[in-house]
Amino acid sequence: MATDRIDTRAVQGVLYGIYKALHGVVGENSAAVMRRAAPDILDMLGKLGVDFSCVDDVNKLSAKLGETMVQAGMCENMAFTLNGSDLTADITQCSFYPLTMKLKEEGIPPFGCPFAEEGIPPFGCPFAALTIAIAEKNLGKRARLKFLEPVGKPGDTRLIVELTDK
């Protein structure tokens, strides 16, 4: 198998079809599907050898998730800061930016990064999904995406997840 040669264009093509169909069926509430999918993404990654079970505090979450995303080619850097109940992640050069732009052109709330419209939750962002899933599963928190917008250069993104006690 050529699993070490996966091209992000192929991934973006598949995701484009899925997200477009999802938005066509569920509309602006597509984010609920991604929230529902997040724990399963985490489980599948674990079965594929990407294990987050060692993450039991925010510092480890920052280190492990950031490192994993960079190693997987999802972005060039992912840095976390915790301020009160807000966990902020700054993502540098998201690899799915072309997909984000294409979805935006078609009026679909974006995969990942920019252009989230007021009142419409962005959906599909894998960085947000994994942050939420790990926070809820490993840290025992309730987590909700609070902010997701572009910052800096095209492809750079900031997401904020609000953590609350269960």
Partner: protein, 136 residues
Amino acid sequence: MPSVKQKLSELLKVDGVNTAVVVGRDGFVIDGLTNGAAMDVEAIGAVISTGVGTAEVMGRELKVGAMSQGMMEYKDGIILMSFLGREAITGLRGRGQREPGQRALPDKEVLPRDPSYNLDRTFVTVWEAWMFRGFR
């Protein structure tokens, strides 16, 4: 101003209502109460949100305007979903098993107008979904 939990508690006092949940568009359950019925919070949040989303798309495709509320009637109960705006909460009550000629929703009850209940989140500015399950 009563909290969301207090308001949900009031709704549960309505005869026949055994579950009341406030859900965001992203499926996040903001709050919910039941009369002892088991509830998978994450599953409920997801299905309410996507159910409302699909119903909105259906309305858009069929060109019947914006959705204001939705109701599904099952053998053992009714699920009612309506939108919670900044200005008011609308509650409905009804019966799951109708007698011939009886309306599914015999009473409509508009709860006291209140401000936003602090539900105005970054991306939950327009409305939230309510669900009332299990009218008898």
